[in-house]
Amino acid sequence: MKHPALWRSAIAGGLVLALEVLCRTGVINAFTMIPPSKMLVALANMMRHADWFWADARYTFQNVAAAIVLSIVPGFLIGLVIHALPRLRRVLNPVLLSYYSVPTFVFYPLLIVIFGIGQLSLTIMGAMFGVVAMISSTLTAIDRIPRVYGKVARVMRINRWRTALRITLPAATPHLFTGVKLAVAYSVIGVIAGEFILATAGLGRRLSLSFNEFDNATMYGLILLIFIVVAIINGVLQRWEARIYRRWYRA
């Protein structure tokens, strides 16, 4: 199929149009969902007129950004350490494999008890979701690095820290993108869901309030906003990943 990006856009556009028609014709009732065009208008109105909007958006995206950083950086470093210690890896492997089968949210009340209701609990919640994806991705990425690079580092007598920074990290980069993309997605889920359950501010809390008040315009406007932001982050990562792959494997 030629021009896959065009096809993708056409399919997405078609689905949005279909949803618009289904909502406008009453096949999907207005109590359940509003048409996408109204979601967009609701979002624009919120951005212009709602006095809470920018403060809540800043609150949420700060939490998400912190959770992403706390997923990716420690996730990569922990992955490096686990990879360097095969016995530790054998011990931890079952935990890493089954981590996402455990409902991590059961720890949210514990985080609130320890850190209180606020940004720290939400950030940690988001990071707890994302960090294991990053650890697993780092392990896979390092496994895929040609062993000869390690020998080259030893021949050049480069110490372990510098090898990690100058060889392991760049060599693993293309394979780390999976982890980074998952860490972003999980961090957003963790933070928004945490805010939804119990928080004093944030878009997740606004979602929860609008859901309880049957305020579909606000609720769908916020869902659209979150969707757009995540799609932009993923789009940027995707382009970056594609660029690296082109440079590395163009032959």
Binding site: P146, M156, R157, R166, I244, W248, R250
Partner: protein
Amino acid sequence: MTPDVHVTLKAVTRVYPAHSGHAAVQALGPIDFGLRRGEFVGVVGPSGCGKSTLLETVAGLAMPTTGTVTFEGAPVRHQVPDGVGVVFQEDATFPWLTVRDNVAFGLQRAGVDAAEITRRVDDAIAFMGLNAFRTAYPSQLSGGMRQRVCIARTLVLRPRLILLDEPFGALDQQTRLLMGEELLRLWRETGATVMLITHALDEAAMLSDRVAVMSSRPGRFISVLETHWPRERDSRIVSEPGFGLFTSRLWELIRDESRKALGIA
């Protein structure tokens, strides 16, 4: 130590210990050998005889189980000594760096100043005929050119001992011959001692002053033959009558060992 001996191996063995129900495997030795300063030594042997293990042991990438390796009179232990360069069979170029940055990589690590890095890198790139590809990424180069980048990266560090582990193993015959010529030129101009591990008898015969023939596992030196080629030589030596005789002699020595290695002896 005899003054002109650059590397000495004394009773070197390498045994892989038993694990997970598998018995211990003696991969190498015992080997006693001396590489003379500035000579080109080829090492040939059947598949799996421990050629690469030997190279890693000489380089300091692996420790001998028993025996000692000395380089310039000092024992080689746990780390690659200063002055030793290794070129591997696998593509070891870094795909995220340009040719220029690949070649400069080791120098930057060694804390050499920027002007000196530029000078050495320019020289090495020119020497290996990569001038037109300085800003290219490895993915834009052929396999032979990537191997030249790896050789240039070793060359800039000015090694006194160059170890090559089947560096042309993945290349076609014509490219191998031409790369062999480049290697001979490099050897002559740098004055380095070179040890080349190869499975290609003609390659070893063309390039080497001496060829060590290894037995099947555990790899030992069953013979070391002098080629008596002039120092100024190139790939045209393969058409000399003596070349065929020398290669035949190598094959005679290695044939039975290869049959043993394949389990058809």
